[in-house]
Structures are given as C-alpha cells and as structure tokens.
C-alpha cells in the first residue's frame, strides 16, 4: 500500500483552516451584492464540517472563495488562513501549487468537472505529474491503485476508459480519485452526492468517510440535505442569505437548534411517527441577494421575530461552541422543549 498517512505527517505539520470574516461581493446589474457575508469558521485536522443551506444561501460560494475560485469580478475580503499562509493574498503561483496538492475540490456534476476527451488515466496522471515526482510507470500504478481505493471494480482494465463509459456513481468515484491523487490535506466537497441515487449516495458518503480516516484529511461538505449532514459531519454551519446563522457540533445542533431557521429546516424534513401530519414548514422564500431585508435577513419568515430583529443584525458569537445569530434563542429552545 502506497498510502501511508504517517509518512506525510512528518513532512507536513498538521494544517488547520481558519476562515475569518470572509465576504464575497459580486457585481450584478442591480449593484454589488454580498453572496457571502462575514463568514468565520475553523476546520481542525481530520474533521468533517458540513455547510448546509438552501439554494442561494452562499454555501457553494463560500467553498469556492476559499480557493479563490469565485467568479473573476468577485471581490473577496476577510481572511482565509491555511497553516501560516493567507489564501486570499498569496501570489497566484503559490495558490496554484496549493490547489490540488494541499486542498482539493470535488463537484456535484462529475461530467462537467471531468474532461470528456481524456481517458481517466490521463486525468489522474495530469495531477500526479504536477504534484508528485513518480515516473510514468509509477504514476500508472498509482492511478490504478487510486481507482481501486475509491471502489471501481477491475480498476486495471477500467483505467483507460473515458468518462462517458462510466456510470454516474463511477464518474463521481473517478473524480474523487483525481482529487485524492496528490493526497490533499483538505477536501472541499460541493454537493458531491446530490445528483446520485440514494444507494449510490450512501456508498459515496461512506467512501469519503473511509478515505478521511485512512488519509487523515479534513473535509468541508457542502449540502442541502440535513440527513447527509447528520450521517457524515462532525460539526455543522447552517447558512442563510450569505451568513452563518448557527454553528456547533452536529448532535447538539440537531438535538436542540438555537436558530428559528435551523428549527424550521429540521421540522421541514418528514420524520417517522408523524405520517400525514402537517410539517413544520417555513412560510415564504429566501430573500434575493439584491433585496436583503433589514436587520436579521430571516425576520420576514420568522415566527419568533420582534421589532429588534427588523432593526438590528444579530451576530454569531463564538466559532467552535454551539452558537446562533438570533436575539430569541431562549424562545426557540423553549419551543424545542415544547415539541417533546
């Protein structure tokens, strides 16, 4: 087995990602809008952080901003600290070296992330040639080993196939193999299982967790599915309208949400034992980025709102502990207890 995480840890100190006050502003026809506002979080070595939210909540943009992959005209501010480097300000050449080797990314649509005219072998080889000093024969052996690692059957005979010869689940596995080729310390996963069927999603999620254990990497997992968060993540950050509204350990947040939005999201998911009863839905729809409500962005949809929520923006206090950006946390928690 070539994959021995211990050998790596000698050359690389344990990295930690520290994101502070990250803000991503996009120019639009309606003026500048903040897709990500004042987002702060940490990812410890080996930890899986879930970024969860609905469409337009800024979760994917947060992920892309970490690697400066936001659209070209986007304005980034705040700080993204990786080890002792500032990713938002390091020179482009240095960033290119870090992308892929230290921090890799996988996407929702493997067919758009994979090159359709190159064989899977060529695409893994590209990454190995840049980030390792193996010779061609060594790289081929490593490519086959990687495909085997991500669970592609008969890897040696499939390595020269093209992406279209793979099924959806296998493409996702191939993309993971490419991302893992240089043994990254941090994997950014942008809805990697959303397009997959539930049994294949289950296989891929468990694969990512296995690889996390074997390779000792950290993972940021962007998803809209609370069940996926519950099953895969250590900590969770819930995003709404570009901000983190609640963060904490997965079991704490799921057991007793402090923010009305988190409470509403959890209540929107049907649970066993409540068949054919109305769900605890959230009325209305998320605001457009160009027409953000004053104060707390969630107040127009919130059943706990008061005058203060319309005037003043609640801030998230704390980064590692269970915290929520809400003035009415006590009421939300009381309501949780009322649910039994």
């Amino acid at each position: 087995m070539l994959y021995q995480p211990q050998t790596r840890e000698q050359s690389h100190p344990a990295h930690q990602l520290r994101v502070r006050n990250l803000t991503t502003t996009l120019p639009t026809s309606k003026g500048h809008v903040a897709a990500v506002s004042d987002v702060s979080f940490d990812v410890a070595p080996g930890e899986v952080l879930g970024l969860v939210g609905e469409s337009g909540s800024g979760k994917s943009m947060t992920l892309r901003s970490i690697l400066r992959l936001a659209p070209p005209r986007a304005i980034l501010s705040g700080s993204v600290q990786w080890g002792d480097e500032q990713l938002l300000t390091v020179p482009a050449g240095r960033l290119r070296a870090l992308r892929g080797r230290d921090i890799a990314m996988i996407f929702q649509e493997p067919m758009t992330a994979l090159n359709p005219v190159l064989s899977v072998h060529r695409q893994i080889d590209e990454s190995l040639a840049v980030h390792t000093d193996l010779d061609a024969r060594g790289r081929r052996a490593r490519a086959i080993e990687l495909l085997d690692l991500v669970g592609i059957p008969a890897a040696a005979s499939r390595v020269d196939d093209y992406p279209h010869q793979f099924s959806g689940g296998m493409r996702q596995r191939a993309m993971i193999a490419i991302a893992l080729a240089p043994q990254p310390r941090l994997l950014l996963a942008d809805e990697p299982t959303t397009a997959l069927d539930v049994t294949i999603q289950d296989q891929i999620l468990k694969l990512i967790l296995d690889l996390r254990d074997r390779l000792g990497m950290s993972v940021i997992f962007v998803t809209h599915d609370l069940g996926v968060v519950a099953q895969t993540c250590d900590r969770v950050a819930v995003m709404y309208a570009g901000r983190i509204v609640e963060t904490g350990g997965v079991s704490d947040v799921f057991r007793a949400p402090h923010h009305p939005y988190t409470r509403g999201l959890l209540g929107s998911v049907p649970q066993s034992g409540d068949e054919r009863r109305p769900l605890l839905s959230i009325e209305g729809t998320p605001p457009a980025l160009s027409a953000m409500p004053t104060g707390c962005a969630f107040h127009p949809r919130c059943t706990f709102r008061s005058a203060r929520c319309e005037a003043e923006l609640p801030l998230l206090e704390g980064i590692d502990a269970h915290a929520a950006a809400c003035f009415h946390q006590a009421e939300v928690m009381a309501a949780n207890r009322g649910d039994g």
Binding site: T199, D202, L209, V269, L279, S281
Partner: protein, 348 residues
C-alpha cells in the same frame, strides 16, 4: 387523519403492464442483423389504486416509476397489459370518453418550469383548462380562477403574472391549481417537490395533505425520497428495474421490509439522527442496464442474501401478510421476529 380506504373500491387498476422503449443502436449494427435493443421500462406491473388513498411509488432513477405514472394517465401506450379505469381499458377509450378520463385523472409534473407555458399568464393557463373541459360557463370563470388561487394559497394578483415571475414552490402551486381546476378524482404527482428547497417542499406537502382531505382526492405519489413517500402515503410500492418488488401498508413496510432491496433503500436513506450512524454501505454495486436485465431475480447481483435459485428463477409477488406482498425467494426475509434478531446483530 383519514382512515384507511376501503378495500373494495379500486378506482384505477394496472394489470401486467409492459412498456419497452427502443434503445439507441447504430444503423450499421441493425444492417448487420443484430437484434433490436430495447429498454425494458416496465416488466409486468400490476397494482390497484383505491378510492381516497395515497399510494406512494418509490425507487431509484431508471426503476420505471415515472413511466408507470405516465402510462397510468395514458401518456405512454403500453406494449401489453391494461390500465383499467371504471371497468374499461383506457387504451380503448375514444372521443368524449377519453376526454372524460383525462379530466378525472390529472397529472402534476416534476418540472414546473417545463410544464407551464411561459407566454401565458396564470389566468390564461387556468382559463384554458376550465374552457377545454367546459367546467364553468364563461361568465363564472373569473370567479373560479380566484377560487383556485385561494385554494393553493396564492395571492389574488398572481392571476395576471407569467410563470417566470414566481418562485419554484409557487410555480408548483400553479401546476396543482391547473390540475385541480377540472375537479379530478385522481391526482398523479410525479416527483412533485423534488426540484424544491426543503423548506418550500414542506409548504407544498402540507398543501397537498390539506387539499386531499378537503377534496377527497385519490393520489398516486411518485418520488425517490423515502421520507416524503413515507410521510404522505397510506400504502407504498417499491420498484426496481421495472417491477414492483414490494408493496404494503406504509407502517408495515417501513417497520419490517420484506424484500432485501427495500431494506437496503431504507438503510441508505441518511437518517436525521446523528446518533444512528453506520459506516457500511447498505447496498453494493450499481443499477444494471435496463437493456440487458439480469436473469432470475433482477436484484440478485446486488443482493447480499442471494443464493443459486435467485440467479435462475424469477420471484413473483407473494403474500407476506394482510395486503403486504414481496417478490423474494426468501419468504422469511424480514419477518417481524427475525427483524428483532437482525437489529441486535447490527447494533452489536
């Protein structure tokens, strides 16, 4: 909520339905005399839809659930088998009879963007449905449009807007309003909320539950999301590669699935409780091609419990309890006593 529907009244029935589509094949290969390749979308599906119930159809992509839904409203003519409504095969209905069937059995589609004409206002969309089926005299139409919008909880000014001016959830409500405008008895909902965000999903689900109660609708709810199907349905049918592998009352089927595929599907669905984690994938392998179906039991290449017989002999749906059927050679799989032992095993 409403009690279990009475057994006798099957309003829509499907009998040994087969649907095949021609698969893509090059002209050269056809000239060389290769046999025609076909996608086997439905392979002998039989089921009954009872008055007032919600029957959930669940399965992964390519299992034939949408084909079944479309065949049941007559959008896809079956290769063999029948869809029976009011004692008649819908394939034989012509003229006014066919129109009456169309009115009484309505379908709501997954894609609210694709199923609403972007150039028609909501008023025009609803008026069209009301006039085609002569639901109201012309002067009464405006009042009915307002009534329908109120029914699906859209504001009255929505009538003058175009579909693109609405959010996804609102657009799905327009689709529901259009289906309800002709006062159908049966609603066939194909992935009704799959394209929506979870908080908006819940709004539409609540609306559907409420409308079903008030209008005494019979609903066929087709979805890939087990949680939603469980929440809405009185009975659930699980499909795999164009067949029903298990069908039964929702509580029974979810509490003690009697087919290994159902069991795998339930285990694969990510549980909302972080304390109930498993690190082992519930079903191995991937869906085989519907062009070349596996021999015997279609599920055997992925089944952990498969034995010799599964490769050779195709299992048929057999009784597993009161109105609970499963198609598996292991007649005792998931028997409630056996389940208790299984659970202990997986906890240990």
């Amino acid at each position: 909520m409403s009690g279990a529907p009475s057994k006798s009244a099957a309003v829509l029935e499907v009998d040994k339905l087969h649907v095949r589509f021609a698969a893509r094949q090059s002209v050269l290969k056809r000239l060389m005399g290769e046999p025609k390749r076909q996608v086997h979308a439905l392979n002998g599906v039989s089921l009954q839809l009872f008055r007032g119930e919600t029957l959930g159809i669940v399965g992964e992509s390519g299992c034939g659930k949408s084909t079944l839904a479309r065949a049941m409203v007559g959008l896809i003519p079956p290769d063999s088998g029948e869809v029976i409504f009011d004692g008649k095969d819908i394939g034989t209905l012509r003229g006014i009879e066919r129109r009456r069937f169309n009115r009484r059995v309505q379908m709501i589609f997954q894609d609210p963007y694709g199923s609403l004409n972007p150039r028609m206002t909501v008023r025009q969309i609803l008026t069209e449905a009301l006039t085609v089926h002569r639901m109201r005299p012309r002067p009464a139409i405006a009042a009915r449009v307002a009534e329908l919008l109120d029914l699906v909880r859209l504001p009255p000014d929505a009538a003058e807007k175009l579909p693109h001016e609405f959010s996804g959830g609102q657009r799905q409500r327009i689709g529901i309003a259009r289906a309800l405008s002709v006062e159908p008895e049966i609603l066939i909902a194909d992935e009704l909320v799959s394209a929506l965000d979870v908080s908006v999903q819940a709004q539409v689900i609540n609306l559907l539950l409420d409308l079903q109660e008030r209008l005494k609708l019979t609903v066929l709810f087709v979805a890939h999301d087990l949680r939603l199907v469980r929440h809405l349905s009185h009975r659930v049918a699980v499909m795999y590669l164009g067949e029903i592998v298990e069908i039964g009352k929702t509580e029974e089927l979810f509490a003690a699935p009697r087919h290994p595929y159902t069991r795998g599907l339930l285990d694969a669905a990510p549980d909302l409780d972080p304390a109930r984690r498993s690190r082992v994938a519930s079903v191995r392998g991937e869906l085989p091609s519907p062009v070349a179906l596996p021999s015997g039991c279609r599920f055997h290449p992925r089944c952990r419990f498969a034995f010799d017989r599964c490769e050779q002999e195709h299992p048929v749906l057999t009784e597993r309890g009161a109105s609970h059927l499963a198609a598996c050679h292991l007649a005792d799989f998931g028997r409630p006593q056996a389940v208790a032992a299984d659970v202990d095993e997986s906890v240990a």
